[in-house]
């Protein structure tokens, strides 16, 4: 499984770089979608089938919306940037990456053995307390249903916001 996961990560990073560097916006959007789908597969391997399904459907919808938006904006390809800016910022970003990978990751608990201080309760008593066999659902809709309320508010507001932004004939003003 380690081998499979390693291979998937290589594919994910390759498609992410493709999404960043491809000139054609539609092709880059497809690369982004591929990246999202492979992350869904990784979720599946990490024993999170709920997340994998949600990632798949949300990624499909994102891709759909992106393609509509790009076709509506007519221009298809991005221009390239000056080399100097790219080099400087690239070095900065790599520094951040190295900083984190050398200082933060060694401090974290080993991958695959987390501290389940609170979630042990969900695992032990979740089914009898909430009646939901799917523990993710029981956390999402019972133990932490208030988070879900916040989440659907965000969704509601964002569609309201899109209706405001995409309305025709805006009036100017100060």
């Amino acid at each position: 499984m380690d081998l499979l996961m390693g291979f998937l990560f290589i594919v994910i990073i390759a498609s992410a770089i493709a999404a960043v560097e491809l000139k054609d916006l539609l092709a880059a959007a497809l690369a982004l979608g591929a990246c999202g789908f492979f992350i869904g597969v990784v979720f599946f391997l990490m024993m999170a089938p709920d997340l994998a399904i949600v990632q798949f459907v949300v990624e499909t919808l994102t891709l759909f919306v992106l393609v509509i938006a790009i076709t509506r904006t007519h221009r298809r390809s991005a221009r390239s940037e000056p080399v100097r800016i790219r080099a400087v910022l690239g070095v900065i970003v790599i520094c951040i990456f190295l900083l984190f990978s050398f200082f933060v990751i060694p401090l974290m608990t080993e991958f695959g053995s987390p501290d389940q201080r609170v979630s042990q309760h969900y695992i032990d008593r979740g089914i009898e307390e909430t009646g939901s066999e799917n523990l993710v659902t029981s956390v999402l809709l019972d133990y932490r249903a208030y988070d879900t309320l916040g989440e659907i508010i965000v969704l509601f507001v964002s569609v309201l916001a899109v209706s405001l932004i995409l309305r025709e004939k805006p009036k100017g003003g100060g």
Binding site: D50, L61, E128, T148, I152, S163, R167
Partner: protein
Amino acid sequence: MSLIMRTVSRVLIPFIFVYAIWLILTGHTSPGGAFAGGVTVSLAIALSYVSFGVPLTKERFRYSTVHVGRILGMLGFLVIGATAMVLGKGFLGNFLPKIGGHFTMAGVIIVLSLCIGILVGCEFSLLLYYLFGGEEG
């Protein structure tokens, strides 16, 4: 679009809807859940936009229906939460009967899933409506 696309969609869309409802209603026993189900509904509608064209789809999924749906979903969530509060279980508490174990009944979770499913489906369909150039009406 082409005839093939339309025929395939005509067959496919009801199945996607059934799958979405299945996802929403069995979220407490199997992977899936309300969000996945809601987004799947909107994917079916997206397919309809692509294959049947914008005017026809807008006719079928009217602004007013979708608008009412999302408000019902949101208010349903709040009403269930408030009911639990009135019954002394705390806001969004699980006040309906629930049976853990092999044959599960998850109490309020199913109702909440239904609300979220309706809300998410309606929100994203509305989003597509706006993206395809619809106005509030």
